[in-house]
């Protein structure tokens, strides 16, 4: 899955995000939800499947499609190279 950002009005819902991005519920991680990134600027993030992201490739409503890399604890250091 990838992270997608979209600009919506304050208090926006997942439903309004799906409508704006022309996506279906099955295209997104509904459990993750619609996360406000900066309340002042109306920028929100949601997790979208690879198939959903391909649909967005044709849309102009998204603010961007971003990686969602794995993060791990920085310790204890593991023996390595």
């Amino acid at each position: 899955m990838v992270l997608v950002t979209v600009r919506l009005s304050r208090g926006a819902t997942m439903e309004s995000a799906l409508r704006k991005l022309d996506l279906l519920e099955e295209d997104v991680d509904v459990g993750y939800g619609l996360v406000p990134l900066d309340p002042g600027s109306g920028l929100f993030a949601l997790r979208v499947s690879e198939a959903g992201a391909r649909k967005l490739g044709r849309a102009t409503e998204t603010d961007g499609v971003y990686s969602d890399p794995r993060i791990e604890p920085y310790g204890p250091p593991q023996q390595g190279n």
Partner: protein, 453 residues
């Protein structure tokens, strides 16, 4: 970076350097080199010139019988100095053209065999760290973390383990803690692991801080595994922390966020240059929300990482510049690690950072016997431990200095400015601006208090 500079001064100067009966100083040999801080304590050394043993030999080849000449017209002289890390490329290429007597500039690597590495025994214990951080002096100044929210974004906290080892029960604010959806467990009641170590280490300098338990690394989202998470979990956690910050009265705003995690591998990311990349892209949503939260008044600290050249973690997969993404954000403090002797641990990642070149910012202590989260003999280690040690100091400061009196950027600048510089030129990519120095911090805050009174 320390360098050796090879010079070819006039023959009489070379003769004086080569003559053991005479003492020539650095200023005799090199009276100022642009961009180089010369080390006057290093006595210049004469370097012989290899010349062909047989007449007619190739003057440039080292693969033939040679004799080494210290004759004044042949030999050269070495002096030692230091060039700022972020000027090294330009200086090394410009020096020989700017000064005709400069033959070459060479690295002068630290030679030591005792850098602390992963798997090594602890260096001191948490009471030593308490002394190094002058916790008694901080408490005397009323700086103990009381009333300050300190978020641990990690694997969850086990308060009982902290209480057992530290001898006091930590304050945990369950109402403002947060878990990713699908993660079972209550704040302060997660299994003993990395997050418990981080919580313990914050409480060394800020024993009265109020911990917020944010177990982002226990994510159950598709794509993660047992003890890691996805960056999207951190995005959601930071959105929650924004609501916590916004609830606080503006005049008493204090939220410190300790992050001892990061991305080890470019495999999970779009490549640098791709618009969706995380590691090198300030426009990635997580980097945006970090900047936004810091702007709103939160102090955000990230571990620099365990990809130091001398003994890097086996998971490190970036071939260079391993301080990536938010760990190198301009509005966070990137924390490198030193042991209780003040020596950099060999696994502590070196700069430059990917979002901001001047990383790490400062060093804090690690590799000491502390929480025993990984067993009675295992140290609290990694820059994972250094980060919460520094976060504890920040929380202690916030007891008296909410962000309305000292903004996060002012506090970052103060910690950098007062740190104990480990080089001769200020910032370097091993130690950043130096090691946290509590007496310097306290003195600077007292001066500031007088100024604003």
């Amino acid at each position: 970076m320390r360098v050796l500079i090879q010079l070819r001064p006039s023959p009489d100067v070379v003769a004086a350097v080569a003559d053991p009966a005479m003492t020539a100083t650095t200023s005799d040999v090199a009276d100022g080199l642009p961009g180089v801080t010369l080390d006057p304590g290093f006595l210049p050394v004469a370097v012989p010139r290899p010349v062909p043993a047989a007449p007619g030999g190739d003057p440039l080849s080292l693969n033939q019988p040679l004799v080494y000449s210290l004759a004044p017209q042949d030999a050269s002289v070495l002096v030692r100095g230091e060039i700022a890390d972020d000027e090294i490329t330009a200086r090394v290429s410009l020096l020989p053209s700017a000064r005709r007597d400069v033959v070459g500039v060479y690295s002068d690597p630290v030679i030591e065999t005792t850098l602390t590495c992963g798997g090594d025994a602890p260096v001191g214990d948490w009471h030593d760290i308490e002394r190094l951080l002058r916790v008694a002096d901080l408490a005397a100044e009323g700086m103990d973390g009381a009333g300050v929210a300190l978020a641990i974004t990690d694997t969850g906290i086990n308060a009982a383990q902290v209480a057992r080892v530290m001898g006091r029960t930590p304050v945990i604010d369950a109402a403002h803690s947060w878990t990713p959806s699908g993660v079972a467990g209550q704040a302060g009641e997660f299994p003993v692991n990395h997050g418990t170590m981080c919580a313990f280490d914050t409480l060394i300098a800020a024993p009265q801080a109020t911990l917020l338990d944010i177990p982002v690394l226990l994510s159950q989202r598709p794509g993660g595994s047992a003890l890691d998470g996805l960056l999207s979990d951190a995005v959601a956690a930071y959105a929650h922390l924004r609501t916590v910050l916004d609830e606080q009265p503006a005049e008493h705003r204090a939220l410190v966020i300790s992050n001892s995690w990061g991305s080890f591998s470019p495999e999970w990311d779009f490549p640098p240059g791709h618009p969706g990349n995380y590691s090198d892209n300030p426009a990635h949503p997580f980097n945006l929300i970090v900047g936004s939260l810091a702007q709103a008044g939160a102090d955000i600290l990230f571990a620099a990482g365990n990809c130091g050249r001398e003994c890097r973690d086996g998971r490190c997969a970036y071939s260079d510049r391993p301080i990536v993404g938010a760990n190198s954000h301009a509005r966070v403090l990137s924390i490198a690690g030193v042991d209780a002797n003040g020596d950099r641990v060999g696994y502590s990642s070196q700069g430059p950072g990917r979002l901001t070149a001047r990383k790490p910012d400062i060093c804090a202590y690690t590799h000491f016997s502390g929480s025993k989260a990984f067993g009675d003999q295992a140290p609290d280690s990694g820059t994972s431990a250094a980060c919460p040690v520094a976060a504890g100091l920040v929380a202690a400061i916030r007891t008296q200095w909410p962000s309305s009196r000292l903004s996060p950027s002012q506090l970052r600048a103060l910690l950098r400015r007062t740190s104990d510089d480990r080089s001769d030129v200020g910032f370097d990519y091993d130690y950043g601006y130096g090691i946290l120095d509590v007496p310097g911090v306290v003195a600077a805050l007292r001066r500031r208090a007088k100024r604003v009174a």
